[in-house]
Symmetry: C2
């Protein structure tokens, strides 16, 4: 059973404003939720689930409040087109230490607004063992339900921070900065790197000129066909697979 | 002005069944429509547009019927969340010759169901000058509005065919077949190719075992992190950037 106020509260976490005030977000579906339950840095506040999920996960209630729901109740609180057994209310992820930029590879995202792309890029970073993603505030919110679902649990392993990117690049000017542009060096001919900040821009607008000025190397994925641009997540994947 | 029957007809083209019967599809927005108008193999049947688009494209009516619409009328026929000036009814694309597989690089898609991924892969093929994509019938329909919009005009340059893939692979067994799997040869260490059929499978189910048996080389994008899989479009992009 769930009260009207609880329904309202969970629905409100679909909005960035409420997530920021409450410092919480939601994640849905057995695969994702079970992964986040076991993640060290994820504090689950509450689990709302169908009987079938609760029966299959008897230890879930050891550390967290578990509320049993009917299909109809789950439908009310779910952000998915097809609600999927369980919804978790989770505290925003806390990272113990400061991000290590020196000696590592980090990603910078400038105005990646599509939540699907944002989630896919987080998964990609995880795939290539990249620990940090720094975003302009124009990027999609990492805790928006669509980003959380698209990231498939990688949000617990990749730190995503929203910050003033120009200051970040200036402060870290001893780390090489690579910017993805349309007319830079051919990415397929570059050496692999072990340290660097890779800046990915918006698909249609590219990278902000002030940021671009701070880059040391401009890199490009050369096309032979007539397509005008690549999807930002695909471009990130190609760049990481050649550089990392 | 547009009649109720016209509205109904155009709405029906949102469904695969109607598109197959009518042999037509729709495309929306000035950028995409203007690109398809100039494409050699696209026969525009009808343009339905706001006055502002018609004023900016006076020659559009030279070869095609152009119907002026109000904002409200466009909203009724549009498949977009935010209708965008113009909608074109187009005949399904006709390709003059048979696809050339020998001596070229082709893509095979097994059960790529997400229309966004499908459209992104078509754009990617175009970027890397790949002319042919062969799909299992479980793949998203290339003429579905979401695929058309995501492909950004690349559908006029890349041939997408739905066919029996096993027969296709058997008939072309003199062309090397590469299959993307989880434990094959590291894609970053492979030589570039000038001929081949690259088979991409469904993100969660992989490639059908019968098809896999027909492959000559199994290829993999090696990850160092903990993410379980890559988005199918991203994986295609990485593979093409290394092989092509």
């Amino acid at each position: 059973m769930i009260t009207k106020n609880q329904v309202k509260y969970i629905q409100s976490l679909g909005q960035k404003k409420s997530r920021d005030i409450e410092n919480r977000f939601i994640a849905e579906g057995p695969k994702l939720v079970n992964e986040l339950i076991t993640a060290e840095n994820c504090k689950i506040v509450q689990l709302l689930a169908l009987k079938e999920w609760i029966d299959e996960n008897p230890s879930a209630s050891d550390h967290t409040e578990v509320i049993e729901l009917s299909d109809m109740e789950l439908e009310k609180i779910s952000q998915l087109t097809t609600p999927n057994q369980v919804l978790a209310v989770i505290e925003k992820i806390q990272w113990k230490n400061d991000p290590e930029i020196k000696g590592n590879i980090s990603l910078v995202l400038d105005t990646i607004q599509d939540p699907g792309n944002m989630g896919t890029i987080i998964r990609l970073a995880d795939w290539f063992a990249i620990k940090n993603i720094f975003c302009t505030t124009e990027c999609a919110d990492v805790y928006s339900p669509k980003v959380v679902q698209a990231s498939m649990g990688s949000i617990s392993r990749v730190r995503v921070e929203y910050t003033d990117i120009e200051s970040l690049l200036i402060e870290n000017n001893d780390v090489p900065i690579y910017a993805a542009v349309l007319d830079g060096s051919d990415i397929t001919k570059m050496e692999k790197i072990s340290e660097g900040i890779i800046v990915i821009g918006n698909e249609s607008k590219g990278i902000n000129t002030e940021m671009l000025k701070l880059a040391n190397v401009q890199i490009t994925i050369q096309g032979k066909g007539k397509a005008e641009s690549l999807n930002a997540a695909v471009a990130t994947g190609i760049i990481l697979s050649h550089l990392v």
